[in-house]
Amino acid sequence: MNFLQTIGSGTLHLLRQMGGMFIFLLVSLYHIFTPPFKFKVFLRQVRFFGNRSLMVIVLTGAFTGMVLSLQVFYTLRKFGSEALLGPAVALSLIRELGPVLSALMVTGRAGSALTAEIGIMKITEQIDAILAMALNPLKYLVVPNIVAAILVFPLLGGIFDLVGIYTGYVVGVKILGLSKGTYFSQIETFLTTEDISIGTVKSLFFGLIVSWVCCWKGYTAGHGAEGVSRATTEAVVLSSVLILVSDYVIGTFYL
């Protein structure tokens, strides 16, 4: 009897979580389009997600491009088609690695901080204070983050792709001895605008997912320091898993 009870309450808890998260998303999305618009807060969140992540994005992009070039070259040489190094690097960066890795990096850097910030505001009753002033806390804490993340993620993905393609070029041409013209001219023949739109669509979704999950986890943080730390961990894990799952799902839609 106890066993059944555990299953039942677990299922109910899961359903409540999922329902709560979804309602939270819908309400937040609704509030994007209703005044008052907090433009200043939005700008600050763009800086929080974007400017502050620039360094880590450039760094991870550079090393991703370099290692990709190195490993793909090694594989292609077995088939004697080193000439396709450029498209292989560019396509995997633009379609997959750019959006996914930049989203994962931003989750670790900004998403966790966001959850912790909102979580601490909650346990120190600052959210209640905003409510007591008859203001809508979603307007200040959630909506600017969602809009900023949706704007920023594709841009970060683009920067990641570009840095990766050029560092891949440096490794392929300067170190591995591929001819200079081949790399870029092969990219030009194989890359289409559709590839770029896939990468951008993925980034848009990842921006929504990360800001949504991180805000929700902060908003529903438990009691005390332990509650906030657990909420932060859960936010990062759930965001990362959802990024990878939705990456696959969007990828199958677009083949």
Partner: protein
């Protein structure tokens, strides 16, 4: 707070520029539409030719394939955009070629000798379809290649 706006603006600019650079430089996105005039050609078989493939004369790119459709009598109708500076004769030969043995398909135009030039939207009559390498190999294997 002025600095906040500057930095955010700078970030957004860098991001948009890198996306635009990738689109225009690598994916050849046409910002103002393709410039040139339209010419059609009908083929029995286009075998692997794709929109965006280059159109060349003597190995120099003079245009691109815009779209490929099927006509009522089951021919492949290829729409090409040719650079305004390049004039084509009405008897120019349009053929589908392959770069390397298994490379991508492109269109090679061999200029004709006619005085009449092709105008916008006209169809070139002389065409040569894609060479099907598999077919040639199978003919070779089964000994039907003419000596």
């Amino acid at each position: 707070m002025k600095r906040l706006e500057v930095f955010v603006g700078l970030f957004v600019l860098v991001g948009i520029l890198s996306l635009a650079y990738i689109s225009v430089r690598f994916a050849k996105m046409e910002l103002f539409g393709m410039r040139g005039y339209r010419v059609y050609a009908e083929f029995v078989k286009v075998g692997g030719l794709k929109p965006g493939a280059p159109v060349e004369i003597a190995g120099v790119q003079v245009g691109r394939v815009k779209r490929i459709t099927l006509t009522e009598d089951y021919l492949a109708r290829v729409e090409m955009i040719i650079d305004h500076k390049v004039k084509l004769q009405k008897d120019a030969i349009v053929s589908i070629k392959t770069k390397g043995l298994i490379g991508e398909k492109y269109i090679e135009i061999t200029p004709g000798g006619s005085e009449d030039l092709v105008a916008e939207g006209e169809t070139l009559r002389e065409t040569e379809s894609a060479v099907d390498i598999e077919e040639i190999i199978s003919k070779f294997v089964f000994g039907k290649v003419q000596q």
